[in-house]
Amino acid sequence: MIEIDIHKRLLSTTGDFNLKVSCRINKGQFVSIFGSSGAGKTTILRLIAGLIKQDSGSISVNNTIWFDATNRINLNPQKRKVGFVFQDYTLFPNMTVKKNLEFALSKGQSQDVINELIETMELTDLQDRKPETLSGGQKQRVALARALVQKPSILLLDEPLSALDGEMRNKLQDYILKVHKKYNLTTFLVSHDISEVFKLSDHVIKLENGSILQQGTPEELFLDKKTTGKYKTIGTILSIQPSGVINIVSVLSNNNIIQVIATNEEAVKLSEGDKVTITSKAFNPIIQKI
């Protein structure tokens, strides 16, 4: 159980505002912090990691107090044991991929974890390269692997995929899900991409001007009515073709084109380029705008 109660005064281009967030997160949850830029998303991650100090409130993780303003407890970042993936990767240019991972080893920790991560993240061919010779997606994989070397219980991802193109994003989202499950992590992801939030998270915190607007499952937040589908995927509408009394909607999802039937009534709410979920109930996939 992670209990967060954050209060910090922030300076921004649009004037001062108060970041006020409190939430309880269960172990193993995938939490997305969603909101427009300047809402304080990254600041939350930096406060959890201990890189900046909050004004008041507390943070406790699995019954260990990381920060408590009233009792003047403030663990430094070194003691908090979090994995942090920065937006600009921050791989150390003077070290090879493998050396970057080895640098993260704690004193006396076995080398085995490095080999395991190199294998999991498919970095075997890249391990002797310097970061400057890698592509964005490759750098991000290294950064993710490095964040996991110390086996943290919490993984913090600061818009890790914002600089990547669609296909690479999809691949990296899969890597993130893979490690989240494999290492039993509690993950916090900062993102402003709804489809990414939908695909990865089971809890969403929607932030606006420093306070929580809404929180809950992605379905609760982004769908009008609750659907309990058996299969769910997300995608972008490529085209809507009228065909007699119905319409055929082509949706691009994970590089597959799915064709879904929509009634005229449903189709008027949709247009090309919309992000949608496709849910399959017993017979017919249901298509809904998100």
């Binding site: 920065f86 150390f92 490095r146």
Partner: protein, 223 residues
């Protein structure tokens, strides 16, 4: 036969000064690049003073401070048995102060040029400040370090005013090349002055040339 001792003495002085300054300046430059302290401008001004102050002014104050009659000078003499005025160790201390900005400023600029997320990433990975500086920051400002070393070395080789004020002209003790040249010219030994000057000119030119060749080469690699 040319007296080589001033040349050897000069190189010794420059080498010792550079090594000591490198050790002092790394933590100082790191602090200056990262601090938000209110006294930072004061420290910056003190460090940069030798850039604008005539060397004779600095030499004069140091001479006063080092003299056995002064509080500092008598303290050093009584407690450590150090006589700094007109001695090689005095020269080293004078050179360290005189060349301080030439080492600190490139290092400070180097530290400041690194993104703050380098340190943050290292802290989150559980590494101490010391480990972060030695393993992450220093290896990424190698060029600034080289610039600092070369500027300090060359500046110490070319020093005249401070040395003259606090060191005088004692052979094998304080008679460095720049003083020797002045001495030879005073006694109208132009040929010896020529040889010393020629050596100084070629040594410093060669050092700078090597640095710039190296700089251009590493620039090409990183692009």
């Amino acid at each position: 036969m040319l007296d080589w001792s001033p040349i050897i003495l000069t190189l010794q002085l420059a080498l010792i000064t550079t090594v000591i300054l490198l050790v002092i300046s790394i933590p100082l430059a790191y602090w200056m690049a990262n601090t938000k302290s209110r006294i930072k401008p004061i420290i910056e001004a003190i460090v940069s003073l030798p850039l604008v102050l005539p060397p004779t002014v600095l030499g004069f104050y140091l001479l006063i401070a080092f003299s056995p009659e002064s509080a500092i000078g008598s303290f050093l003499n009584d407690v450590f048995g150090l006589k700094l005025a007109f001695s090689f160790s005095g020269l080293v201390i004078g050179s360290i102060i005189y060349s301080l900005p030439f080492m600190v400023q490139p290092l400070q600029a180097g530290f400041a040029s690194l993104p703050s997320s380098f340190s943050e990433a290292s802290f989150v990975l559980g590494k101490s400040k010391y480990q972060t500086i030695t393993k992450v920051l220093i290896p990424n400002i190698k060029k600034s370090i080289l610039t600092g070393i070369v500027l300090t070395f060359a500046h110490t080789v070319g020093e005249f005013g401070v040395v003259l004020m606090i060191g005088g002209n004692i052979p094998n003790q304080t008679k460095v090349v720049s003083i020797a040249i002045y001495d030879e010219v005073e006694s109208l030994n132009y040929s010896t002055a020529h040889v010393y000057s020629g050596i100084l000119l070629s040594v410093t030119f060669a050092i700078l040339l090597l640095v710039y060749i190296n700089n251009n080469r590493s620039n090409k690699f990183s692009r």
